[in-house]
Amino acid sequence: MSQRQLAMVMDLNKCIGCQTCTVACKTQWTNRNGREYMYWNNVETYPGAGYPKNWQTLGGGFDEAGDLQAGVIPSIQSDYGVPWDYNYDELQEGKELVPNVEPTWGPNWDEDEGAGAFPEDNYFFYIPRICNHCSNPGCLSACPRDAIFKRDQDGVVLVDLDRCQGYRYCIAGCPYKKIYFNPKISKSEKCILCFPRIEKGLPPACAQQCVGRIRFVGFLDDEEGQVYKLVHKYKVALPLRSDYGTVPNVYYVPPVDTPPKFDANGKIIEGSNRIPSSELEKLFGPQVHEAIKTVQNEKQKRKQSGQSELMDILIAYNHEDMFRLDTGYYQSLGLNQSVDNRYTAGKYASKLKFFAPSKEAHK
């Protein structure tokens, strides 16, 4: 356990699956140097196989006795999907548009497919996923080199690229499959919760860019913060698959008001719910019913009295209120220097000189 813990809450009722978070993360961190296939942030359709394919069945995590379980390491070719591009250049020569790699799977392959029969009871919702920065990380426990560490000051889980030797047990040990193997440098890499931004008081890129304002970021022990209120005060935000035993620190407000089913004549079945409660229980545990009830009650309260702190938080009138990052705290730790400044080196990529060919670079 770290001294303090940063956490993120995502309100699934507001996620529209636009992938702006995915793109924000990709352009910031994973569009280069062996990370091209990785999505540290992805938004997947549930129910669905997700990304990597069928990640929920690939093992890892802890059993009830607390023993870390063996897992399967997904393949870039069949489970993550090789990023493909098209031969745009050749179109002017009259050639047909063809991909350079035969696409067989990708990060959003089964988008909006969901389950059920249209129009009676089909349904789906989106789940954005980043590394859960767990309090008991499976990846960390699986590493035989002690190359993965959890920062004491905020609980961010990071890979020490110097110690990492590319054994990939971390990928097997993580039940969320949110740590990836970079085959170009033969090391594991993962979501770093944008720690260079966090330390400067900026929210992670995925949260900053979220158009639906679904993401709250803050310290779990900050009782004034919205994260604390959603997780501990109102208990409406729940971790994903907490049965894996890793104690995740990303929380989700579950889908609350789902549409009713239709009968054979296309008539609404009153009181029915398209999302089976068994599915919600599987993802968010038995507490999900209480959480849904709380949100519904507060919604009612707001309708009647015009007052509800919870509703005000979930509406998110001001985007900046969703992030309480406490720059003073980081400054007090003297964390002006990032732990691993190789990551921040990339920030200069926005400057033109690095995008133009230079004589120096071709040597």
């Binding site: 280069r32 140097n33 393949s75 080199r145 440098i185 080196a345 990339g346 200069y348 990529a349 071709h362």
Partner: protein, 401 residues
């Protein structure tokens, strides 16, 4: 008659327990051996010694598929020869591998074949050689590792931002883009070779010394890998310029997803610098068979060890409670076995991350923060019992594949 049969049986077990423990003879040559390759003619002047490598079974790791592939590994026979020129020493290792496996730069599931040579930093006292699995606290080892891998270039560590940008993200087109891609291609380093220093499993740290004159080559031919290691007899980290020194060897089979502890390894073997005096004590000790009553040793093991340790068909102990001893006779010296029985704190194998199997820590920390083994000392045992137990443990190893 019964007694005679018992004796015969004991002798048989003795024979089974035989190690290929004759010293490797490093022949002195006039030429320079500071940078030999498997094809160097110099190798004709030395002959091969056989060494047995045993599957590492003390710990199991978390890759479900790899665990299945390696569940029934057997011992591997490898061949080694050595040459020295007075200043440098070179080793040639040859082993059979049906497939050439290479770690590729576009795959998350391929692993390369590999080889490592391990040396003890201090080998004055043959009774306290470093633990075979990457040394132990206060007993450092130096490891030279080579893996078959596709060329890689790592721009991040070199603060080379320009070359870490994806070609598709460069605003370059046509010839400029080709030039860029070629410049990335040119920067690839094709050899994966690393030097490490370690004081125990988990503590392995890379030596980043660009002036280190250590050369390794791997070559695959007709179903065999040949690998060479050439290095000065004296380096900043190591002094091999003695009559004899210990070496240990490990190989990885990429086809079976071998990496890290998923490997086959030898025990400490002595290398004799032919023509240089000294080192007899080390050679004799590493060549000598453990003396003891194997049958009685087995009885002692069943009474004293199986509550915590598993081996072969003995599965009474809880999983992950203590190192599995199934191949301990293959890669541990008899001195190490005896020391561990008498003083479990002398060498502490850190084993799993404490959070991976929290119910069975292999060590605890005392008030000074020093590791204390959870195994109780068996120093109370009489000398004969200890020797019998060691003789039995030395028989715990897989047969040859």
């Amino acid at each position: 008659m019964k007694k005679l049969l018992g004796l015969l049986l004991a002798n048989l077990l003795f024979a089974f327990g035989l190690n290929a423990s004759e010293p490797i003879k490093a022949m002195k040559v006039l030429g320079n051996v500071s940078n030999l390759t498997p094809d160097s003619k110099a190798w004709l002047s030395a002959s091969f010694s056989e060494v047995m490598l045993y599957p590492q079974t003390a710990l199991i790791f978390f890759d479900k598929i790899a665990n299945k592939m390696n569940a029934n590994n057997e011992a591997k026979k490898v061949e080694i020869k050595a040459l020295y020129d007075g200043k440098n020493i070179s080793f040639l290792l040859k082993w059979r591998d049906a497939t050439r496996s290479v770690q590729k730069t576009d795959s998350s599931t391929l692993y390369g074949d590999g080889v490592a040579f391990q040396f003890a930093q201090n080998y004055d006292n043959v009774k306290t050689l470093p633990y075979i699995g990457m040394g132990s606290e206060g007993r450092a080892v130096v490891i030279h590792l080579a893996k078959a891998s596709e060329g890689v270039y790592e721009p991040n560590g070199k603060k080379d931002v320009y070359h870490q940008v994806n070609p598709a993200n460069q605003n370059l087109f046509g010839k400029d883009l080709q030039t860029y891609e070629q410049s990335v291609e040119n920067k690839k380093e094709s050899e994966y070779q690393r030097n490490f220093i370690a004081q125990g499993f988990r503590s392995m740290t890379q030596i980043r010394d660009e002036n280190a004159k250590i050369h390794m080559y791997m070559q695959y031919k007709n179903g065999f890998w040949e690998a060479t290691l050439s290095q000065p007899l004296k380096t900043e980290y190591l002094n091999l310029d003695n009559g004899a020194f210990p070496i240990a060897i490990a190989v990885w089979d990429g086809e079976k997803k071998n990496r890290d502890g998923l490997k086959s390894l030898s025990s400490w073997i002595s290398v004799k610098l032919v023509g240089k005096s000294g080192g007899d004590k080390l050679i004799n000790s590493l060549s000598a068979m453990p003396q003891g009553d194997i049958k009685n040793g087995e009885k002692i093991a069943l009474e004293n060890c199986t509550a915590c340790h598993r081996y072969k068909n003995e599965h009474t102990a809880a999983a992950f409670m203590a190192p599995n001893l199934s191949n301990i006779g293959g890669y541990a010296t008899k001195e190490y076995l005896k020391e561990s029985i008498e003083h479990p704190n002398a060498v502490i194998v850190p084993g799993y991350n404490i959070k991976a199997h929290p119910n069975y820590p292999w060590y605890t920390l005392n008030q000074e923060g020093k590791r204390v083994s959870t195994m109780p000392p068996y120093d109370w045992m009489d000398e004969k019992s200890k020797n019998d137990l060691v003789a039995f443990l030395a028989t715990l190893k897989e047969g040859e594949e």
